[in-house]
């Protein structure tokens, strides 16, 4: 299982600030695909980044079970 943190509009869509996916290791690209299937409303977001261990991750990066993963919808600080 991989724990995933959700923020902003993604948290609203998921209905929680943490959720899980059943997987021990997965690429960021595959994670995105599973997210988009599980939460159809993600399509209404302008897009989102995936952060692994508090760093923005590219699609080819591999996520392992104890990584800190976060879904980062478009940021709007400042």
């Amino acid at each position: 299982m991989i724990n995933i943190k959700y923020f902003g509009i993604a948290k609203e869509i998921v209905g929680n600030d943490v959720a899980f996916i059943e997987s021990s290791t997965i690429s960021v690209a595959d994670l995105r695909q599973r997210m988009n299937e599980q939460y159809k409303a993600f399509k209404q977001i302008k897009g989102y980044m995936v952060a692994v261990n508090q760093e923005y991750a590219i699609d080819s990066q591999i996520i392992n079970a104890d990584d800190e993963v976060a879904i980062i919808p478009p940021v709007s600080g400042g």
């Binding site: 943190k5 923020f7 902003g8 509009i9 948290k11 609203e12 209404q44 977001i45 302008k46 952060a51 508090q54 760093e55 923005y56 976060a70 980062i72 919808p73 478009p74 940021v75 709007s76 600080g77 400042g78």
Partner: protein
């Protein structure tokens, strides 16, 4: 003197003087501050307040990166970036960036770089509350 980079996310009201003192030393001739405040209107709608959600540990890391890049790219002394979390009312301060430098051009450039980059990279989200609802700023196409 060594460059100092300081980044803070706070639930409390931000003080301009605190951020100013943070970057001020006797070598500096110029300090540029950017203060971002909450407007009462956005696209013709009445805003009642904002709520900032933060992914705090990552946001602090990204804010530190901005500080480091500013020090690397511009001839500045110190940079401090303070950002609010939680409820922020109209006219209240959402963000303060202060940059000190020996000569003034560098502090302007670095300060503008810092706020521009913060708005692109730092995982902080603004929910704007209107008279008739609320929405996450910039989230929808």
């Amino acid at each position: 003197m060594k460059n100092k980079i300081n980044v803070v996310i706070s639930e409390e009201t931000l003080s301009i003087d605190t951020v100013y003192q943070d970057v001020h030393d006797e070598l500096c001739g110029g300090i540029c501050l950017f203060v971002g405040t909450v407007r009462n209107k956005n696209k013709g709608k009445n805003v009642t307040h904002l709520d900032f959600e933060t992914y705090t540990p990552m946001a602090l890391k990204e804010m530190n990166k901005i500080g480091q890049r500013a020090v690397d790219q511009y001839d500045i002394q110190h940079i401090s970036i303070f950002h609010r979390s939680g409820y922020v009312g109209i006219k209240d301060i959402a963000v303060i960036i202060a940059v000190s430098s020996i000569h003034r051009d560098a502090c302007f450039q670095a300060c503008q770089f810092a706020i521009d980059t913060l708005k692109e990279t730092v995982p902080i989200w603004k929910k704007e509350h209107l008279d008739d609802g609320s929405y996450w700023v910039g989230a929808r196409p």
